[in-house]
Symmetry: C2
Subunit: 128 residues, 2 copies
DNA sequence: GCCGTTACGCACCGATCGGTGCCTAATGAA
DNA sequence: TTCATTAGGCACCGATCGGTGCGTAACGGC
């Protein structure tokens, strides 16, 4: 808990931390993960629950999450085709761990962040 | 600690969590944050310490981090111009909190993640 | 006065991301 | 047989991101 730390944090470009950060790199990936947090959902359900995500992008997002082993796909041979997506254990650990940490942080520091952003924007335009 | 939770995680598209996730959206932002973790650094120092980041992108990254109040800029009227960048308290809290959480997660689950990724890649090409 | 270092700005470019629209496959109900 | 529903694929597009290269301003050393 200190060996890798030093190494990782000096030159993060090649660090495994990047692999973790990349899991959040695409706009909708964390959104879909969050949407699957409470229970498995079908494609359609995801689209309506999330709202604002396009059909294509949802497909791509699910593929990425599947490829990263964060989400599971289960197809049923039902009348209208039924496919359920759910978090894997790995996915759950990511959501319950780091994503919750980020959620906690934004709850704690969200106002600070907004203040800083507005102040910076103001400074930029007023320039004095 | 449960009111926002339910709301946020149902429809994350508009949630404040997005604002936090967006802080990691750009490739080099977390890298620069990590590089500033131990101590303030100059531009040049950052470039060489990070390795692989272009001059322009470093500028953009620093601007974003400044605009988000995660980083401070301090210019000295010195012989070759000297500018120090350092983490603000807000930046520190982000690095020490969520980023460390992500770091801890990848240390704990990195192998799982790699396994899942390889298995998925194999499944995709072999298709059986 | 010229040079080297440092901190930028700016123009250009290819790759990727996300959005829109259209088309197909599966399957039970009518 | 036709239809509605659901899961997806595919082509196209504009915006953005990151990379490369070049130019510039500040300032002390020589």
């Amino acid at each position: 808990m200190s060996d890798h730390e030093g190494h990782c944090y000096e030159l993060v470009a090649d660090c495994r931390l990047r692999a973790a950060i990349d899991l959040f790199a695409h706009t909708w990936d964390p959104v879909v993960l969050a949407a699957l947090r409470s229970r498995p959902r079908r494609r359609r359900e995801l689209r309506t629950a999330i709202g604002g995500i396009s059909d294509k992008v949802l497909t791509e997002t699910l593929h990425r999450l599947l490829a990263n082993g964060l989400v599971e796909r289960r197809a049923f041979a039902a009348a209208p085709p039924r496919v359920d997506y759910s978090l894997t254990d790995l996915g759950k650990s990511l959501v319950d761990g780091p994503m919750m940490a980020l959620g906690g942080w934004i709850i704690e520091h969200g106002d600070e962040l907004l203040d800083a952003q507005e102040r910076a924007a103001r400074t930029q335009s007023t320039r004095g």
